[in-house]
Structure formats: C-alpha cells, structure tokens
Symmetry: C3
Subunit: 360 residues, 3 copies
C-alpha cells in the first residue's frame, strides 16, 4: 500500500479525479487483484452505508462484496418502496444520520446531482453509485480499469462504442475518461437517431483522438481492439418494426465476430439482453463478466483510499451571483428545495453544479 | 469493561432497568464513545437477529451499526410485505426458530406487547425496538444518554417538551425516565388538544419535578436548558387551517432561537419534517444528529451487556385469577391467541401485562 | 477438521452425495455443534451469495447464520419484486456475475432444475436452497442429521410420516434419503387422496425397509420412534367441510401424544400452522425447533466442505440424442430457453436432467 492520498474526499464525478488519483487507484486495484489476502483486513472495523433509493442490485452487490472483502462491514437499504426512509425526511437529514454511523456512504438516487447534494451534509466520504441519468463514476472506473488491465493504457487503439450512444450514460462517461488519452481512433457505431451527443465527440477530439461515426458494426469489427457494447432500448424507436430492423444490425453474434481480431476485447456494462447472442459468451474475447469482476476490485481500491485519510467536509460553494435557478425537473434541487443553489461558469455559459444542465 | 451484569435478561420496557442498570449502560456507552477500538471485538462471534415486522429503517440501521461495530454479525428481515415470515406462523414459532440461530434478537412489530410476548418464547435476549404505539425503550435510552452526555445528570434543569405531547410515544417514555430525577422544571409546550396525558404529568411530579403547561414556545425558550421537539401530525387537527395556524406557533426557527440560552440543547427523536426549519440545523445548539449518533453507542452498550451473561428464559407469569381478558384491539393477544393472559394489579386496577391497557 | 473432500462440487440434489460424503458432513456438523469456537474463523475471508428469487426467510436466515458463524460474509437479495435482478437478464448471466464476487452461491427459485442450470455457469459452488416444488436438499440434510443426532443411524426404527404425503417435497426427499438405510418400518399416515407417490414407496422398499400405509395417526403413535409431521393445505381438499374433518384426524395434540413412546421424536420441516397444537410445543418429544437449529449446523458443514477445495466447473453434459424436449411448464428450460437440453435414461425411459420429468 502506498502512502499517498487521493486528492478528493468524495467520488461524485469521474472528472474530479486527477491523473495521479487514477493511477493510484488503478495500480492499487491491480495489487489487490493479485494479492487479495494482503487486503483482507484493510478496512477492518470500518462501516459502509449503502443508501439505494433506487434498486440496482448488481451495483449494490459489487459495492458490498468490495467492502466485505476488505474486512469491513455494510449496512443500508435498497428498496424504493421502503418509504419510511424518505417519508418526509430530507436527503440532507438522512445523510447526516447515516453518515454518523458510517465511515463511507454509497448513494444511488433517481435525482441528478443528489450525490453532490449528499456530500454537502455528510460526515464521511460519499461515493456516487448513480444519480439518475447523470453520472455513474464507478462504472467508468470499472471500464477504464478493464481496458488498462487487458490492453494497457489506451493509446493508438481502435475503440468501438456500439448501441444507444445518445442515452447511454456509461458511454458518455467513458468518452470523458478517454479524453485524457490520445492517439486513439474511436468508432461510434449507432443509428442516426441514437448518435452520441456533440459534447462527447468534442471531448474525445480535444483529448487528441480521432472520431469516426458509422452505422455499420460488421465493417468496423475487423479493425477494433476494444468493442464497448450497450443496450438498445425498444422505447427509443419510432415503431416495433423499426426496432427489430435496427436491433438486428447492432446485435453481436458469433458470425459477425469471425472477422474480428484475435485479441479484441468485448465489453458491456451489463445487464445485457438481446444485443449479444448467448453463443458469444463462450468466446474468449467476451470479457464482460470479467469486467464485472474487476469492478469489485476497483471499488475495493476506491473504498480503501477514501476511508484511509481523515475526512474533510465539503462546504457548499458560494452560489453564482444572479437570479438563475436550475429548471431541470430531474435535478435534485427540484426535490430538495433547501439546497443552496450552486453554479459554475464555462465559456460564457452558466451550468447547474448539481446536474450540469445549462441555466438561463 | 466492568464485571457487573444487568439485572434484566431482556429490554422490553425502560422502566425495567434499575438505577444501577442505567448507570452501568450510560457509563459503558460513554467509554465506548471515547475508545471504540477497545470494543471492536467485544461481540466477535455473536449474532443479532433483527425481526422488523414493520419497516423502521433508521432504528434498524442504528442497531445493525451497533452490533457490527462491536465485531458481531447481523441477520434479519425488514419488510412487512415479506409475508413468508408470518404466513400462518405464530410469533412464538418465529422467535423460537430465529433465537435458535442468534445470541440476541431485536423486534419491531405493529402490536402492543409483542416484545414481551416474544421474550416468553425466546432462547436469547429480546430487545424491544418498538411495539406499535406502546414502547420504544432504546429511544429513551438514547434521549437520556444525550442529556447526560451534554448536560450531566438532569437536576435543577429547565426542560421543555414541545409538539404533540398527547400521542408522542417518545415523550411519554422520556417523562417516565425523568421521573427518576428531581428538582427539574418541565415545560410542556403544546396546544390544548395535544396535551400530555395526566399519568405522564403525575409521574413527573411524583419524582419531585415541577410541571408547567403552556402553549407559548417563544416565551419559554429563554429559560430552557433542554428543548425536546417532536413532530405535529396534520391529521391530529380539526382542519388544515387550524393545523397551519398551530404548526407555525410550535415551529422552531433561527428567529425564535435568538432569545435562547447559549448552552441550550435542542433534541428531536427524528425524523423531523416541518417543525424545525433547516436554518436551525447549522446552529450549534441543535444536537439531534449527534443524538442519533449517540443512539448507536448506547445500543452498543445494551447489546454488549445483554449478550455477555448467560441467558435465563423468562417463563410466563401466572395469570391474574379472574375472567378478565384484554380488549385492546392493538394488543398482541388479539393477533396471537395462544398467548397466556398476563395481568398486573396497581392501585385496585387491573392492567394487561402486555399492552398496559386497563382491564375490566 | 478432516482432510477429505466431498465428491461433489455443488449440492443440487441430495442423491448426489455418496455415503462417504454424508458421513463426512454428519460428523463435521456434530463436531461444529460441540465446539463452535473451533470453527468461528473457518470461512474467514470467504463470501456467500444468496440469490433468492423467491422469498424464503427461514431458509435464508439459516444459511446466513451458518456462513456468519463460520466467520464468512454474505451478500444477496431476497425480494421477488426486486425486478431489477432479473429484468431481462438471464439466470446464466446473473450467476456468472455474482459468482465472480463470491466463494459459494445459494439459489432459491420458482423453476424446477434452476439450481442445476445455475451450476453450469457458476464460477463457484452452487447450493440448491429449493427449486420450485422439485428439490430442497439442505432440508433433507437437516432432517437426516436430526434423526442421527437424536436417535442414531436409522435402523430397526419405526418411522411415521404424516400429512400431505402426495405433495410434500420434504417427505419425498426424506424417503429417498431413508432408502439408503434398511430394517426400518415406515408408516405412511395420510388420507387416500394424499398418499405418497408410488416411486417413493418403491425407493423405501428397495432399500430394505417395510412400508405400511394407514390413515390412523392415533393407532400408529404408540409404536413410533420418529414422527415426521407435515402441513396439510386446505386447497388440497374437495371442500372446506372435508378439510375440517380430515385435518382433525391428522392433527397432533397432547391427548393423542399421551399414548406415544417416552423417547419418540416429533419432527416438522416448519413453518407449522394447525397440524400441531401449541400445547405440544412444550412436550420434550417435540424436537422441531431443535431440528431447525441443527439445520444451521449441517449447513455450516456443507458450506465449509464445499468452499475448502478448489472449484471445478461442471460443464453441461452432452444432450441425449433425439428430438425430445422437456414439456414441463415449470422446468427451468421453459424460462431460460438458451439452456442446453440435458437428459438421462433410466430403465428405458428418458427424463429431463433439470426437472426429472419424463420426456416423450
């Protein structure tokens, strides 16, 4: 175990992490993977609270397994119907109470920006395990760690991202993470309707990567070193017919795979449904279950680093002067009205610091 | 750790505890608070069962955190809809089975007297974590420990209790606990409709305290050393209008607080809703989150003391001779008909030993 | 702890266990019961996943208690409504992900054969905690261990099984287990409608036991060394009236018990409802709560033996050549269509290897 600390006290957004933070986590996770026994008591006596206002069994199990394998313990809830949690009680109050019992708190909520909101009132580190459709930084940690682990640092690689690139939170986050690297070619494989947002493209390019948009998975496959598959949801299409026609094009099966490189890796944030046929599961290039397993190790590294240093609370930043107010109905300020308005300015625009929506 | 044992095998009712019991718990909890590391293995190898027939997330998390921080482990359920638990099976059978796995059992149920009923069949200590609207002794432990911890033994203090004093279970229990002390002045601050029951007043006075009833929070505030706030539920009022008028009077805000003593402590059993405005949370006198945290430590002391001595089962006491039968529809005997009728006599009256309702 | 390993990698079906396996488990469970402290760290650092697609609180608590008392840890889910688990995700995928976090996985599902199906994809041992109405091998371990523990090896005993012998999964399994012993007389006590299936009778006889069918519990009672009671469900009868008449005959009460042997043991898989009156609970011969407690110890032995050796995955067996396909609507192949068809031949008949239904 090295003696350096992370530069952050919470993990709300992957972009908070410095390059040094990321290297530290990545290297620690690799070490835990190799020698789990050395870390079996690393969090002995520490307690994690998992506050899952939305059910997300896989993510919750991964966090629980991570903490327990460090010798720590877990309390929490996971049931949205368990109304007694939030019955009239503010998120701030729940966080203040539970963080009083715990050494680290993991939150999953339906509202965007709620992890940041939680961190304003917490007495211990907060990890964002998903705040609505906004951020899911430990999935990005998992994805990037998998690439590092199997292919090394992304540089000069051909990376395909396939499926619903418009709505896929994990794709956007991974694009953001990849913008830290350069010299890669990123193939964005989707229908015209489900293209990646412009700001994601810009991020990739600004980092020094080439971006190619396409709607032909088969054509790309032979070139790729990494293929990141995502789910296409039926609801996104104009008709059932249209869905069936398109879904077929973006479905990965053994046939299509026959033309791919021998050392391709096929990733997926899971759960998968129809976009990968079961025969692919047995292909050695399909690493998504291994990826899920690596997610436990990178979470172990994160929990360990966040709980090993004294916690410094993050006070609310001064609000941007002005009369702006975030109008995003899914923003946490809509459900928790006592929150101090917090903004940031970027290239003459004002954004809500909670949900990153533009204001004004 | 001292070597004395509690005089009780279960904690069903705060009033079971002798003065010596209370001092032992209070002093042990203080010691755990100061040196938690000394107790990190105190319950190693022991198992707690949390049988929550009613959801009560905060209480359950507090108990779980307490046991885990003692190095013990926890099993249990928390879902009233999880009907498989009680599907046809009697409370007695469930307790007999689960206590066969565990070293201590914590119960939360909708029926009054069910913790006492459970203790008749349990093979290990039973802790009452709330039996309907009847008792909630670990909340009282928490409240009293908070006062002791921050203000010392209650003597010569001015203590305000504000809100719905008629229906507030925690208020009644705290009044009972305070009756062990004397020389205090207790201000009962509520509307005429929500006044404290006469038997609570009598208890306070019999202990040697002065009681003053009032409906003016603002007038009292400058005098108080302790202010115990509780929730006022809208349903208790004749109309929405009446509620809004009254709620305003009993709402604590920074304005009202400006006249209070510098060393006042503001307590609340939580969750709070509207009765305290969010600006008060940042006032140093608002100790309710700290109070919730102390609740974990007093529960640690309780669990530790109850599990460190050999368990002696509590056989059902002989029933009071006569043909009386408890008619309280919320009494546990209504839902568990096999229970032996148990009564106690007090000043020529007969009371159900389960739910404390008068019989006959 | 002895150094021998079980001959199996999973526990799907009690009949998989060799006589040596059973002796090993039985003897280990007895040793744990006597000296639990010696095993308090036997699974330290190991993690159990409890995947309960159907709620079964008692079974789940028993497994959890078993693993925690071995010093291991537990993650899992227990809520059928928690649809996020199975939302579109195949059983195979869920098992692959969760077994990537865990050292042993316990499954409870509504579909017959799903534990076998799970074992085809798991990266760690699978324990069947009930697959629909099909198998529940750890209940059988519990029952047999109880008889061993209290009466010794079943030989020359009079064993009564009473209640719904037609539908009772635990009765069928116990009959199968008893077929390994000989020289016993088994009294099958039920109404004509609820008689034990012929194949169960045949198993008992083939092992070298005598079988006597009867509908008279009272007449049998004085002879019995072991009485295994089961629940009679109202729905099985032609009318409410018929149910009430019959239920009375097969209800065990203190009166009937007065003629029984002093060293009879009365067993029940629990939960019980009306088939045993509460007064019997206090009879020393009623051992069903003790039986539930022993269930924890035999599960401890099972978990310990399955996790102490390297796991060898079980590949799907070659399918029986032919065009057969299992038509049992409750078979796991009906809900998980990607599963490879697996059959076995027995005396010129073909059976589905998942659900044991005859095919063709």
């Amino acid at each position: 175990m090295d003696n350096k600390h992370l530069s952050v006290n919470n993990l709300i957004d992957f972009n908070q992490l410095s390059a040094e933070d990321w290297n530290m986590l990545c290297s620690l996770a690799g070490d835990i993977y190799k020698s789990p026994g050395d870390y079996a008591d690393a969090c002995r006596g520490k307690l994690m609270g998992t506050l899952f206002y939305e059910p997300s069994t896989r993510t919750q199990l991964s966090f629980q397994a991570a903490m327990l394998r460090l010798g720590g313990q877990v309390i929490g809830f996971s049931d949205p119907a368990r109304s007694s949690v939030s019955k009239g009680e503010s998120l701030a109050d729940t966080i203040r109470i539970v963080s009083g019992y715990c050494d680290v708190v993991v939150t999953r909520t339906a509202f965007e920006g709620s992890a940041l909101a939680a961190s304003l009132y917490s007495g211990c580190p907060v990890i964002n395990a998903g705040d609505g459709g906004h951020l899911h930084p430990t999935q990005t940690l998992t994805d990037l760690f998998t690439i590092h682990n199997l292919k090394g640092e992304p540089s000069g690689m051909s990376i395909g991202m396939c499926g619903d690139l418009l709505n896929g939170r994990t794709v956007h986050s991974l694009a953001g993470a990849l913008s830290r690297y350069h010299g890669n070619t990123v193939y964005l494989i989707s229908t015209p309707e489900l293209r990646i947002p412009l700001w994601c493209q810009k991020m990739l390019v600004s980092g020094g990567n080439r971006v190619i948009e396409t709607d032909d998975l088969e054509e790309c496959l032979p070139i790729l070193d990494v293929l990141y598959m995502t789910r296409i949801q039926k609801e996104r299409f104009s008709s059932e017919e249209e869905y069936r026609r398109q879904a077929h094009v973006f479905r990965l099966d053994s046939d299509k795979l026959s033309s791919a490189k021998k050392d391709l890796i096929i990733m997926h944030p899971l759960p998968k449904v129809d976009e990968i046929t079961p025969d692919v599961d047995n292909d050695r290039r399909a690493v998504y279950f291994y990826q899920a397993r690596l997610g436990m190790f990178i979470r172990m590294a994160l929990i360990l680093k966040l709980t090993e240093k004294p916690y410094v609370p993050s006070p609310a930043k001064k609000a941007f002067s002005g009369t702006h107010r975030c109008k995003n109905p899914k923003c946490v300020v809509a459900s928790e009205p006592y929150l101090p308005p917090m903004y940031r300015n970027e290239r003459d625009e004002t954004y809500c610091a909670y949900c990153d929506h533009r204001i004004g």
